[in-house]
Symmetry: C2
Subunit: 406 residues, 2 copies
């Protein structure tokens, strides 16, 4: 089965994007590249440069090849897609999206979740620790993060079973057990790590980060706020987060996001040298932000538009921090940005913040109101970034529906 292409610069999955995913079709699971509303079955194209890696059921083999190979692949893809003479050759390798099943794009090694939005961290601090300064003293000196559960990172479309656990209502002397009653989202970007594994004891510097940053996914860090509030002191979030994290199926490469790089808004105090951006050849900085527009849809109503450009810490800073103690990275590692919240109320990336811990319920278009997720609710995350010459780079969708606790 083939399909016709009509790629224009306004197509969010056009020749400037070319995100990678993993799909199943005809009983085989393999790597594909999204073009418009089709999947290019790359390993079936004659003379495809990395057909062996692309014929596998995860991106990990391709991730391990490193930046030089990623560039070779992008050049080959853009030549293939951009040249009208090649079009008949391409079309027989295109499969309509509707005919494939999208899978987890990678086998996640270690998953780390950061906390890189000053607005989010401030809001959460105000809500969870009203008697303290909203930002902890370390917050502006290092990108705070923690390890999450890699085995429960699932692909968009996977149903999310409402988690049960311990919570302690303020009115009760001891904790109770049952389904979470404060089930929330966190709208984030996830960064996919590739390149050769680093060596134990050897940090990856800010300048080296781009060799290991392959691309981004949308990431929903589902959060049970009542479970989290009871458990998280002193060792951090655990069961309040570990039941599921959803990522979008298409990994948009950092190359496709080149035109979306923007300076950070400014860091004061200046971070320690290992976190300090250095000028690059093109006059930018190794510590760059990303100009990504994000939206959060709840049962069909867009409830928030978090702007990624307002994040305090850059992706390269997060990676440099993560490894500065000599911790290794491997192809397939994933790290989340933390909830993206802008300065405005309508830019907050969690329902905890949008409803201010339930005190200011959110009205949906169907007339209902919400503070936290109800069974049957569906959340869709979407994002776009500017590409070169007016192109739009789509990041696709990241969806999940809540099913009742078992």
């Amino acid at each position: 089965m083939t399909t016709k292409l009509d790629l224009t610069t306004s197509d969010p999955f056009g020749v400037q994007n070319l995100p990678y995913g993993v799909f199943t079709h005809g009983g085989h699971t393999r790597v594909g590249v999204r073009l418009d509303n089709s999947v290019l079955d790359v390993c079936s194209v004659p003379d495809a440069p990395f057909a062996d890696a692309w014929a596998t059921p995860s991106l990990n083999a391709f991730l391990a090849l490193g930046r030089e190979s990623w560039t070779t692949a992008r050049t080959w893809l853009q030549d293939l897609v951009g040249d009208g003479d090649e079009r008949p050759t391409i079309e027989q390798h295109l499969i309509p999206l509707a005919d494939v099943q999208m899978e987890m794009p990678l086998v996640v090694g270690d998953y780390v979740d950061f906390y890189a939005s000053e607005h989010h961290a401030t809001n959460v601090g105000r809500i969870f620790r009203p008697d303290s300064e909203p930002l902890t003293p370390n917050w502006k000196h290092l990108p705070i993060g923690y390890h999450g559960r890699s085995g429960t990172v699932v692909v968009s479309g996977t149903d999310i079973v409402r988690p049960s656990g311990q919570r302690k209502p303020p009115t009760e002397p001891t904790p109770v057990f049952g389904p979470s009653v404060r089930l929330d989202i966190e709208a984030e970007l996830g960064f996919v790590v590739g390149g050769a594994p680093s060596r134990l004891g050897e940090p990856v510097s800010l300048a080296e980060a781009d060799d290991h940053l392959f691309g981004v996914v949308l990431l929903n860090d589902w959060s049970a706020r009542d479970i989290q509030a009871w458990e998280y002191v002193p060792l951090g979030p655990f069961l309040g987060k570990s039941f599921a994290t959803t990522i979008s199926p298409w990994v948009v490469t950092m190359d496709a996001l080149r035109a979306a790089r923007v300076p950070l808004l400014g860091q004061d105090p200046e971070p320690l040298p290992y976190l300090r951006g250095e000028p690059t050849d093109d006059g930018a900085s190794t510590a760059y932000g990303l100009d990504i527009d994000y939206e959060v849809e709840w049962n069909g109503t867009v409830v928030s538009r978090p702007p990624y450009r307002t994040m305090y810490w850059s992706p390269a800073q997060m990676l440099a921090h993560l490894t500065v103690n000599g911790a290794t990275i491997r192809p397939g590692d994933l790290f989340g940005s933390g909830t993206i919240s802008g300065p405005e109320k309508a830019q907050r990336g969690s329902f905890l913040e949008l409803s201010w811990s339930g005190q200011e319920p959110i009205r949906l278009d169907d007339g209902s109101t919400r503070a936290f997720l109800e069974d049957g609710d569906t959340v869709v995350l979407r994002a776009v970034a500017p590409g070169p010459d007016g192109a739009v780079i789509g990041l696709g969708e990241c969806t999940g529906t809540i099913t009742p606790a078992r």
Copy 2:
């Protein structure tokens, strides 16, 4: 090359033990079983029941087969080793330990570290939070834990590069960067998870835990206390731990530790039902402790003998808690018990506690004193458990030497 066996019940690696590891010999890496001071090259034995799984360079395939297969393998091994007539057959499959290189026994999926010793949690609470109650209000209601970095779990004998990072001396207004000056150990047991992966949203109950608990390793959760102290509020330990975690090469099976099961010392308040032990057929409880004697050696001096039997939370309780929110487990997951500290000073499992944060230096046999690790220091963890009929079950050694920061 072959070697003679002389297995008696006092041999810590005799017929009642039979721990699994992964070794390299003759250019091939595969699963072996330790017998005395030799490795039984199990996949080379004619009619070995799981030769395909044992011919791989990690235990993961064997872990995935599940409890019934583990029992079959143990019966086959005990028949093989225990029957004198078979001895000539065995001996040609034995390789002296001195001739092999021990490798990481498994590819770690998710790594979780618990905090299950009341004495340890109390000591750390007193040291880190002197103005608060030493135990947080949640501590006796749930086994507190957090996710660690699976990619930096390394096998015994791997050198540990002193980590660098941010720390904030109390005398400084802002953090400084450099090598950790408070590098510590945490003497723990690690539990290796096996069996079929659980399904997202479906907890593993206390009664089902034994189907997923394959065995134990010694685990050293190296900890940079200065990095940890500055970073850990509010999301928990991160770079203070993620640079390295060392495990022993031999996984001692839960079957070998059957005779070491002991009742917990008592839990008050009674935990919620999902954490409550139920009687088993043999009159014991699904929430059992383990009677393991542990020792910590620092540059040749035994500085502590932590008794595992004093732990508050049981391994099955930790697994049931870990999954009660529906989080999945996979063969190859690993969880640590947290530092083992008994009630006596000479039973503390970290140098932070032994030296009371440096205020009470520890004297080594060479006349030197220590509060935290110096470059060149070597730590060896060892443990033994009682087997049936007076047998001793050895857990082997877990060693590491500190090399200077890079």
